[in-house]
Symmetry: C2
Subunit: 331 residues, 2 copies
């Protein structure tokens, strides 16, 4: 069996209390004892059991990030930002993916309930506002990327409405007068906010957005192709398309190219997120950048603050987005 603190104490001829003190860097240990204990730890290959420690301390210093889908590189980049802050604060970040199903999400939330982790960041959730509010009373949770209307819970997102607006304006500035929109489920708050902003941009410029130029389905990338095919089959096809994600946009571009169009010339396409692939595709993809790293740091910092304090900050934080124009809009 593996060595325990008792073994170390016995071997070193000191009490478990002293070993514990050494382990935790307490100043009340003589140099001689410390040296002896450290040598013994080394010799036995001892490593403290965190189940015991955490049980006693009632804290794990671990934060769990639950992602609705593991293939979204955006989330992983946000995690990098989280890591960066967490490390300094003595926390570990672990991740789990819910495959966007409620059952799996709940399963992972159990790690919060059963005290395996101290806090959870939800990159989108199937919980409603009421449930989230209840949860936030007893646990430390945060939403990132995807807010929930009416949820009085720590949240970090871009200003999706404004981002949608800015995307619309950017396309209009390129001279487009017939624009289309590829959205997502109506349950996705961010997507509908982007739509609202986009609509506002068109309205501000006296441009109509007829229903046939709006396609909303799931975030599944293939829907980008379905949308584009439909748009291009119209008597009067759009000259610009705004999609609520880069993958939807890329798939739409792919379909447009297949149908013989020169994207960036015959038709402009704009995505959302600025995943690393945007620069690699032909044409490269214009998009709205989400500042992942910054979002990660912010949500991590605020969540750890909440964990360490009994004064809960349930604010809704908004971080600045940025429009990036590349070849897919003719730049």
């Amino acid at each position: 069996m593996r060595a325990t603190i008792k073994d170390v104490a016995r071997e070193a001829g000191v009490s478990v209390a002293t070993v514990s003190r050494v382990l935790n860097g307490s100043p009340n240990v003589s140099e001689a004892s410390a040296k002896l204990v450290n040598e013994t730890i080394e010799r036995l290959g001892y490593s403290p059991n965190f189940l015991g420690r955490n049980l006693r301390k009632r804290a794990t210093n671990v934060i769990l990030v639950i992602m609705p889908n593991a293939e979204h590189s955006l989330y992983m980049q946000i995690c990098v930002g989280m890591q960066n802050y967490a490390q300094k604060a003595g926390y570990d970040i672990i991740t789990a993916s819910s495959n966007a199903t409620t059952a799996v999400e709940t399963r992972h939330m159990n790690m919060l309930f059963n005290r395996t982790v101290d806090g959870v960041v939800l990159m989108g959730t199937s919980y409603d506002a009421r449930s989230l509010n209840d949860l936030a009373k007893n646990y430390d949770i945060a939403l990132c990327c995807e807010g929930v209307t009416g949820a009085d819970v720590l949240t970090v997102t871009v200003d999706d409405e404004q981002a949608g607006y800015d995307a619309g304006i950017a396309l209009i500035k390129e001279g487009h007068k017939r624009l289309a929109f590829i959205g997502a489920e109506s349950t996705a708050l961010s997507a509908s906010r982007r739509e609202n902003g986009f609509r506002r941009a068109l309205a501000d410029n006296g441009i109509d957005l007829p229903p046939e130029l709006v396609y909303k389905n799931t975030y599944d990338q293939d829907n980008g192709a379905v949308a584009m095919e439909r748009f291009l089959g119209l008597p009067e096809p759009p000259t610009a398309v705004f999609a609520v994600s880069d993958t939807l946009a890329m798939c739409a571009i792919r379909k447009a190219v297949e149908m013989g169009l020169a994207v960036g010339k015959d038709i402009s396409v704009m995505g959302f997120d600025n995943i690393s692939m945007c620069e690699l595709t032909n044409p490269s993809l214009s998009t709205v950048e989400q500042p992942c790293y910054k979002m990660g740091e912010l949500v991590c910092r605020k969540l750890i603050d909440n964990i360490s304090s009994d004064q809960k900050d349930n604010s809704y934080y908004t971080v600045a987005h940025r429009i990036i124009l590349r070849e897919s809009t003719g730049d």
Copy 2:
């Protein structure tokens, strides 16, 4: 404070043992007690503390996957396969990314040492064979995607040498006689195995692979462009390029297109992995598919078998790859 098993016992007027029995589905509980306990649990909003349970059981039923880089969608897809098996076996899968640095990898390995998790899957590692062998003696670990020569540790990968060979043959069959190779660090065993296989394919067909047609650097996607630019600047540029990853290949394609070539016609490019983006790019990317889902299931099953038994299986498992031809090779 949150309710404990004691609170439930007191409120329900039974002993903690009975509550524990209900919690663990023991048959030795009267229906009446069970009902009472469950009601009390519900009423108090009780959720068992797994730190206590796991400490007592000396097991957490959690497996940690450590990924060298979080942006690699391949790893996440492998995790989906792992999830699938793990769920049936009553295990949870969590992930952490090491950013390919030894320090962070070690930090996460601590979760294994300190008993926060029961086992670890390493998607590539900075440990050498000797360290891994030592680790495997005391802990349950597995390697996935990336083996380590001389490591007598449970491993699941594709047959990289054969995959490289098959990629080479596929390109040769298309009529290419001047082929180039984009590799990665020499420390990446999989990359050098793919190179070996590729070289074998050329040799079998009497084709030379001169040093100027080989570019090896990191997996950083930009190196794909650097390599392609160099190749195309040669007096006698290649007509086909094999890259050890899809992102390297995509970046190479991007550069070739920028330089005015029609990829799939003037030059063929083949990647490795079959990430979902392969079908979205223009041209779509020919590649060697790694059966992620299957690899995930397999490594998870074998690792859990090891955890549950004292008979350790340290085999090296190889799963079947598949050549997929798309537009980037003119198909």
